[in-house]
Amino acid sequence: MINNKEIIQVKNLVRNFGKIKAIDGISFSVKEGEFFGFLGPNGAGKTTTMRIICTLLAPASGQVKINGYDVVKNPEGVRRSIGMVFQEESLDEKLTAWENLKFHAILYDVPSTQQSSRIIEVLEMAGLVGRKDDLVNTFSGGMKRRLEIARGLLHRPRVLFLDEPTMGLDPQTRRHIWDYIQDLRIKESITVFLTTHYMDEAELVDRVGIIDNGKIIALDTVANLKKQVGGVSNHLTLDDVFLALTGWQIREETASDKDRMGQENRQRKILNNNHKN
């Protein structure tokens, strides 16, 4: 259920690292219950935006509000409202699954009478009840991810942030994690904010924001973006849309001019072909 309340509000957000403008005045909002995909090439500003939203990094200027709380003025309110699943692993591998969740429940001030029942509830959702007393260092990559998502939901956040949740996982595990996320959205009607490099995953979201060089360059539904790039009758995938909008150049590496020209030609070809169709 999407309603009109804007649960994430980002206004004119700026963040510099030295002279580099990592975030160059971006604005967007996400409605309650929405499934929002935040895409962009490596180094475009995705992770920086995420870090500002989850209060790990202060903005240089602009305003970010989550569930009505300002990230600078009321970081504690923001932290209570969000569940984070980071790109890198963030479990304590020397603790059991249960202990990791118990630790989280206490830090997030989950009422002690509800702690055990909620831990069991999220473990069931993650399919890990049978392994609850095993140390996390005996878990596979997929199990760890499921546990992290379960942990992110334990304190009943209003928004769940998933930063490349399926990166480095095999197709089976990816599918499993996705079924889990979809299932979750139906059951919990929670707002989900996702970043990913897998465009087939992003096809499933309600709305997409694409960030490049610190600026939002597209913000719409997947269907509308495809129309915008390829015209009405097209067979574009989100992959094509993404490449058309952000270019072919590989990021974080300085491609030679010749390479760049080659890439730009390929890009032009795709766009021309699509418009001809």
Partner: protein, 271 residues
């Protein structure tokens, strides 16, 4: 944060440190082996340097008895510094982020860590304290309790120091460098290993600005009634204000407060 939430959060952070300790058999075995090793090492050494040492210290104390309070202090010192390494490990394994985005203040995070590290330092040094009677140190019950509280203060102060280093340094490699260039000299120039007599001026100065010196001296004064460093004001070589063990305790206490404040500050700027 309300008070129950603050206390429960400190408790769970403390408890996690202890779980890590118990689940690492190497650390547990090391904390038992260290005192045993000290006994063997000390008795072996005293036959060689015992005579020299007794000339400086006096005939009533043997080397192993002289070393005992120093080793007590050192065991606290090393465990305390190690609790700083766990902050770096948490960063490297990603778990630090889970703590940093939790709705708890960074003060709570720092205090939980310090409490956990200090407790582990206390476990290890309490084992060491228990062997005191076996090396001929007759400690009355009152002195035993006094020592224990002294160790508690030293553990808290030094763990705060260790946690501060751990939160300022980002990699274990960098921490190694700090260990060699700061921690090792502090341990060496504290009077824990050798008597602080007839030192050259510059070394005497280093000994005096080393806060760990006063921790070792306080432990030694309590066990042996023997002080190596005077805290007070001297005029023409005569002490006019002599604070004795209270001076030592005061310095360790103030050092601990400053380190705790700095550790809280360092945690508050972690990203």
């Amino acid at each position: 944060m309300n008070l129950p939430h603050i206390l429960k959060s400190i408790y769970v952070l403390w408890y996690r440190e202890l779980l890590h300790y118990w689940r690492d058999p190497v650390r547990v075995v090391a904390s038992i082996m260290m005192p045993v090793g000290f006994l063997i090492f000390g008795s072996g050494l005293s036959s060689i340097v015992g005579k020299v040492a007794s000339e400086v210290i006096g005939p009533q104390v043997n080397l192993i008895q002289f070393l005992f309070p120093g080793v007590l202090g050192l065991s606290v010192f090393f465990v305390a510094i190690f609790s700083g390494v766990s902050v770096i490990w948490d960063r490297e394994f990603g778990f630090l982020k889970e703590i940093l985005v939790a709705p708890i203040s960074r003060t709570v995070v720092a205090l939980g860590r310090i409490a956990g590290g200090a407790t582990i330092a206390m476990i290890q040094s309490s084992i060491l304290l228990a062997i005191a009677p076996f090396i001929g140190l007759r400690l009355s019950f009152f002195i035993f309790i006094k020592l224990w509280f002294l160790m508690l203060l030293i553990s808290l102060a030094l763990t705060a120091f260790g946690v501060l280093i751990g939160s300022l340094v980002r990699t274990t490699e960098a921490h190694q460098m700090i260990s060699y260039s700061l921690i090792a000299p502090m341990a060496l120039l504290s009077g824990a290993y050798f008597p602080l007599e007839n030192l050259p001026f510059w070394m005497d100065l280093l000994v005096r600005i080393n806060p760990f010196t006063y921790a070792v001296d306080a432990l030694r004064q309590t066990t042996l009634h023997f002080s190596q460093i005077t805290v007070g004001i001297n005029i023409f070589g005569k002490p006019i204000i002599f604070l004795g063990i209270f001076g030592d305790v005061l310095i360790v206490f103030v050092f601990g407060i400053i380190m705790t404040e700095l550790a809280i500050w360092a945690f508050s700027r972690l990203e």
